[in-house]
Amino acid sequence: MNTVLGKPLSRVEGRLKVTGTANYSADVSVSDLAYGAIFGSTIAKGRVIEIDTQAADNMPGVLSIITHRNAPKLNQVNMFPLGPAGETLVPLQDDTIYYAGQHLGIVIAETLEQATDAASRLKIIYAEEPATATLQQAIARGQKPEAFPGVHHFNATRGNFEQGLAAANVRIDAIYSTQMIHHHPLELSATTAVWEGDQLTLYDATQWIYGDRNAVATILGLPQEKVRIISRFVGGGFGCKCFTWSHVILAAIAARQVGRAVKVVLTREQMFTSVGYRTPSSQQVILGATCDGTLTAISHTGIVQSSSFAKYPTPVGLLTPMLYACPNVVVNHQLMHVDAGTPTQMRAPGEALGMFALESAMDELAYTLKIDPLELRLRNYAQDNDPQSGRPWSSKFLKECYLQGAVRFGWERRNPETGSMQDDGFLLGWGMATAAYPVYLSPAAARVKVFADGHAIAQSGSHEIGNGTYTVMTQIAAEALGLPPEQVQFELGDTTLPNTPITGASRTVGSVGPAVQAAAESVRSKIIQMAIADSASPLYGRAEMQITPAEGRLFLTQNPTQGETYSEILRRHRLEFVEAYEETLPRDADETDRNKVFSGINALRGPVDSKYAMYNFGAHFAEVRINPVSREVSVTRFIGVFDCGRILNPKTAGSQVLGGIVMGIGMTLLEETTTDPTLGRIATPNLADYHVPAHPHISGIETVFINKPDSYVNSLGSKSVGEISIVGVSAAIANAVYHATGKRVQDLPIKLEKLL
């Protein structure tokens, strides 16, 4: 039976969202609410000498001002991936300033306006020290990067790179750099803290309620069961809401301090300095190849930044060893500490950066060899096994992605000569690049209840970050129960629900989906067993495998008229509901993984620690149109074809990959957070200066799924769709720009002045 899964069901919470009745974290109304306004450092490095609160203290409505002088002593918590914190810095514990924007305190007042006004009246005196606040500045000043922290085995080698390069007829050796980028979900990060005795409830915009609970409990010295996190809707996260940041803790201690509920909503400006960012990178790629295009050597060295106090590693070269069947590969990652905040995850954190470099270099190689860029990739295609691990692919339809994309795009009509294609005086360019992203899976749990009136509730403490969790989980439960989806309600976003992993690394459907499916099948089985054992049932004495569920009925597959509804069975047994709880583990996971995830610590299985090399694949084809006068670049056509296993909902999955391409266009052409070179403070902290794509930038995008199930990854056959689609977008566009202009832009974003 397949009636619901795979169908383009519209968002089940769509009506709530478009009518403004979906309550996001900042929308919760609780009684006796006060408001917090966070204030931060305007200098990048040094110490706080004094925070003069006198003027603010006496302003109307001000309840309390918490700074490092009167803040409670807090506990340390491990930073991701060892723990759930966004950075190792716990707020307000001393007078040291590590970066501009670092939180220095919070004003709590009766109204938001009073709190904000009072915060603006504070006089902060600093002892300022010279800062090096950007990666480029650190490199220019000769600062030496360090190796990634030891727990991360991100580096890779195979064969002998030097020998491979010596055997090459041609080589490419180039430096690519990428810029600081911020996530900027529409919803600002927001936390409302409510204490009832020693029990803390946080309404928090988070992609990881269990990690949040763990972090908050640890920092405040509470047992986890004393903390409840509720997060029914998240208005986009893209990674910046994965971990627990300072404002969450400040809300909790502020509420305890004033003995009232406190709501804290970061300002848009604070979103630049409070919830991480995508690290800039500087990457060297060296390729060696023979005249026929066979790769003989690949070297990829990536330098990324972290704060001066935390070692947050963003591995840009994770995909480099697996992408091509090249015998000699070396990948090396380095970390530069700078006087900026700690970066964090952002949609394909390292992959989106690394594939800009690698896939740009492949295009350069194609031009050097005068081989079509797509053909060059096919000549180095890794057919059966991951060339790094030697493990077989769990599934790989990359060739289909390339070929379908090429046909749809009309790639064979491409004249490879740069500047050769024009339209009405505008320069046209066509470029392509590969996409890939690992499949990561984690343990999860779910509960499903079928009620006597025939409806069902499925529960799992996951997250709706706009990714379609409510909808797809509803479909999975409905499919397993044989109920129409409108009869199934899915609940998420509450730590009192069954445990799930973080909604990050594109793992929600693949990890939580099997748990929901298992719990639904389990409750279905319980009810079937009740019927089979009941002489009053038309199914009495039958075997479970003879019975099919559909449209709320259980009936004999061979004779659909013989059967009865869930309602009839439950009512006859005088049951209000029947429920089942199930936990599922990824194939290669164990009890340790389970216990970690269920206590709010990350644990996952991906291609490196599974028996099969599990990856998503894809191919991007981009057309750019370049204004001959201003050299402004616009993307006029874009086709992305993706192998993400079985697609459970083409509508929500299609939206996901479309969004990733849009975000990739932003990263390539528009988005850039600039830091003042002298003051070390972000110079463009607003959306008037920080441009994200709008409708004029995103016309002509087409997305296609290969939609073939992966029989290894999980019971649903679904790989993952969240991040794959941004990977490689920048290279496809940059390659198209080269094709149009003959200018190879190796540093993002591609601003018009780089093409003048």
Partner: protein
Amino acid sequence: MNPFTYMRTTEIEGAVAAALSDRTSSFIAGGTGVVDLMHDQVEMHQVLVDINFLPLSAIEVSPEAITIGALVRNSDVIQHPAIREHFPMLTEALSHSATPQIRNMSSVSGNLLQRTRCSYFRDVGFACNKRIPGSGCPAMEGYNRAHAILGTSSACIATHPSDMAVALVALDAVVHTQGPNGDRRMPITDLHRLPGDTPEQETVLDHGELIAAIELPVSRLVARSRYLKVPTDNFSLASVATALEVEDNRIRDVRIALGGVATKPWRSHEAEAALRGAALNESTFIAAAEAAVQDAVPRQYNSFKVDLIQRMIIFALKTVGDVA
């Protein structure tokens, strides 16, 4: 945002008097500028005088001029057929300004008086000579991609952000004001000041002086005109307002105004001088473009504007002059 007193009146004299009641006061019309600035604590007015109910919302058309009331919304200017007919450059400039939502709210007087988008000015965590005279200008050595190359001083390099104002200086608009010292009329090029040593003084208006209307003299010249902007969908990095009158393949008269590159809406008399009376061809346009930037002072991140604005001037002149 600080607490403030809100006042409203239906009389122009009353609005002027209300503004004079407090030295920090500001008029508010569409609110698309002043509210943002108050949110960010860049401006902290104790009194806001709402002028939306003053009788300044008419567009009057006569054979000699079109007069636009100060409160006319930007979107209504775009829609007006006589303006579209006589001053296509103005329609074009406004069409590329802001967003439909903002254009529906913002008034033409507010558009003229909008303040710079310099991110150092708009972030109170930075020093800024315009915000706090004498505190310094971090944009000089900072991230100055959006900043001016013309009309700059050692105190300030912030650009004026209005597209409409650039078109208006090309159109020889006249600004009518009403204030504590009576009524005034001034050419729009006199309204905005160069930053000099006093970048905090952006216009010649007195405190409490209100823009009442903008008068556009009808002219044969400007019927053939063009407003070119980069980027088209955001605040200008560079823009060119051009009008040409050609006779016997010679340029009889011309207007060139520049936006996004200067500290005030910039009439390029240098470029106009190079064009007036000259032959209508590309080498004339190149000479005009070079003249326009002869006094440019580029900086680290905005030096591309010297090239970009010249390319745009040449292209705009070619388009308007119909030169291949």
